[in-house]
């Protein structure tokens, strides 16, 4: 049944940059990848949604702060509240935090400079729809490229996040590119169906372009979306 191609939507906001990369990567990993438009209040039937990287609406205010009010985001929030699978990458992570679907906020990098480089990450959990193809403790090499990637939560919220095991990916020792607390690189929602991460898995699906490790994250999502299609059938 692996020929079932789950429908994965990728939202294009004005200012999205990695939307086409995400569509390309998801299609290469067996999804029926569908571009979605920010101004559409209603979404087609989907098995998962990806919010891509970029600078939605220019991000001249706080990153993601405008995109959360876009018509499409209303539908994405509803999709997530009903248990739908949502993955936010970089700017998408920022949008999910602004929309209240993930805890914490993303601040400017501690260096105050944009940074683009490969980072090593440690997989903290593999029992999620986003990391099922990884081994516990596995080290992944995936690039980051962002100016506002410093995830932050006050102590009480951080304790909750850690207590609930919501951290899925951490920067390996010495690799943290932005100063995020607890080396957080990627998180899952308490309900387990929404993930956000700063590294770009869609830019690590072909070793020819540097690394193939990001494919493990995206293929996990495609697997989970496919399982939902099969269960529904």
């Amino acid at each position: 049944m692996s020929e079932v191609r789950p429908r994965v939507g990728v939202v294009t906001f004005p200012g999205s940059n990695d939307d086409r990369d995400a569509v390309w990567a998801l299609a290469a990993l067996g999804a029926d990848a569908k571009p979605l438009w920010h101004a559409d209040e209603r979404l087609p039937a989907l098995d998962a949604i990806v919010l891509p990287g970029g600078f939605s609406y220019g991000d001249y205010l706080r990153a993601g702060a405008i995109a959360r009010f876009s018509p499409a985001m209303g539908a994405v929030v509803e999709f997530a509240r009903e248990g739908g699978l949502v993955l936010g990458i970089c700017n998408g992570f920022q949008v999910l935090c602004e929309a209240g679907l993930l805890p914490g906020v993303l601040r400017p990098n501690r260096s105050l400079s944009f940074v683009c480089r490969d980072v090593r990450l440690t997989v903290e959990r593999t029992d999620t729809p986003f990391t099922s193809r990884c081994r516990p403790g596995q080290e992944l090499t995936i690039p980051v490229k962002h100016g506002d990637g410093c995830w932050f939560a006050p102590a009480a919220l951080l304790a909750e996040v850690e207590g609930d095991d919501l951290v899925l990916l951490r920067y390996a020792e010495g690799e943290n590119p932005n100063g995020s607390v607890a080396d957080v690189a990627g998180l899952v929602s308490p309900e387990g169906n929404v993930m956000g991460l700063m590294p770009h898995p869609e830019h690590a699906v072909d070793p020819l372009l540097g690394s193939g490790d990001g494919a493990l994250v995206l293929a996990s999502l495609v697997d989970a979306a496919r399982d939902r299609v099969l269960q529904a059938a």
Binding site: P14, N17, S113, K145, D206, L209
Partner: protein, 675 residues
Amino acid sequence: MERDPNDFELAVFSLLWSEHCGYKHSALLLKRFPTDGPAVLQGPGENAGVVDVGGGEAVAFKVESHNHPSAVEPFQGAATGVGGILRDIIAMGARPIALLDGLRFGRPDWGFSRAVAGIGHYGNSVGVPTVGGEAVFDDAYEQNPLVNAMCVGVLPAERVTRARARGTGNLIVLYGATTGRDGIGGASVLASQELSEEDGDKRPTVQIGDPFTGKKLIEASLALVEGGLVASLQDCGAAGLASSLAEMAAGGEAGVDVELDRVPLREDGMEPVEIMISESQERMVAVVEPGRLADVEALCRRWELEHAVIGEVTETGELRAFFGGELVGTIPARLLTDEAPRYRVSPEPRAAAAPIVHDPIPVEPDDLLALLASPNVRSRRAVFERYDHLVGSRTVRRPGLDAAVLRLPPSHRGLAVSLDGPGRAASLDPHTAGMQAVLESARNVACAGGRPLALTNCLNFGNPEKGEIAWELVEAIEGMAQACEALGVPIVSGNVSLYNETGGRPIDPTPAVGCVGLVEDVREIPGRWAEGDVVLVAGAPELSLDGSEYQARFLGGAAGRPPRPSAAAEAALVAFLADAAPVLTSAHDCSDGGLAVALSELALWSGAGADVDLEPDALEWFGEGGGRAVVTCRREDVTRLDDAVPLREIGVVRGDRLLGVTLDRLRAAHEGGER
């Protein structure tokens, strides 16, 4: 015109007849460049050059300067330089896939850092990867820094879009940002005069960039072209509508009527002439058939871009401007473009210094460490990590060594791209500087496995009305042209930036050359050297310390006369490198800092050391001159390398040391820089 122009017309003339727009001191000299070839679809004269790369695909590319705006305000100057070159590429109907930047500053100071930030601000925000370029520091650029931006785009070969107003009654549509008073007179006040101490008051002539609108402009423009909705596209850049409309009218051998009161404005009370020459950023002009207007408007609305029909194509041959129904100016379009004045420059040769002859100078590893840490040699990681170099999913070879490689999916073919200027020899011999710039860019592309297809260039010079500067210009162009002819590679686009003088001090002659090469199979490009590989030096040109980084650092500054490269030997080396790419495990151009620096850079890139046998002499370690490359291959493959160029085996890849220094120490010097 056979009459005196009115004030409106005079303002338009003053901009379009400026050096920046009219090339009045350079146009005659530029005829020396070879510009044609079987693959050239569009040579100089359009927004960018276009070359057929086969398989139905073409590549559009150009480099342009934004020097004077960056001298006055480095962040916005650099950012809008990137925005401007992007619009040149989309005007050809191409999707931008790579940016490169040539930066020359006095030192890595605040201004340099702000220029880097400005480039990142624009390039990162619009989703076009910045994959290469150069950063050079020399006192010559202290008061007059150079910011050159290059963009490469891809398009279907049969869909080259041009800036030509054709079809009487077709509509002129302006879309993108609104028009304000920013950047008024930029082309003439800033770009075509020497700078002085009191240039703070020129800040209002610098444009302000809005990359978010720039991003929407890229996507909307490509959708317009892909949908077949526009007959012609034109960037609205230097000299604003005046330049765009004049070039479109002249290019189409037609006329244009423009109604300036229909231009969407961002401030009240603008005079007609201000609207005509405003350099507000993020605007494009399209020629649209009336029947397609509704679709064009719908697309602009989808991307939330301001748009308006501001005029129409006529058969008068004139650019006519109206405001509130009144005619405010009429100028024959060709008078503003092709028939702008052309001056012959009066070169005054400077006497050449004699080459300096040295007794052997012993060297030691500390000299190498000092050179690796010097501003012009040290790692550029701190710069290119501030640029998104991955967006687009094409970057097979990332920035850091020679040239980047971008693939052309779904095939395994790719493009190798490089942007280079001359080394310190520029101050000693402009002819050699011109040759060097062309040859180094071609060699960098070849080291990355590309066969050079075509070049673009930006000529950064001082005031051409001075005889010595005119001579530098003539000599550099001659050197460039000879190198192009030897390589068999044309120049298809370019830009001239003159008057780069501040307080009477001109910059060194700085021709910057961008090269695009075709890679047959991106899976077979040279990468990293590996244990057991044989290390060879390809090419055996005459070497010298004159004009070398070693001389600048240890011998009191650039002096003497560097040897002129042999064009034939250089072309053979480029061909050898491109041919041998599938066999080579690694390849690296040997330029600033000489052989010892090139070996160090390749060792650090590869993460492995080598046993190499070099005489501990300054000429052997650090001599520069003509083209050489360090290449490596498996021992059994040495016989597969052809003998078209001299090859000298110097060692074997092994261990974690090079020339008596551990890789860790080399890395600390190269990455850490001078303390």
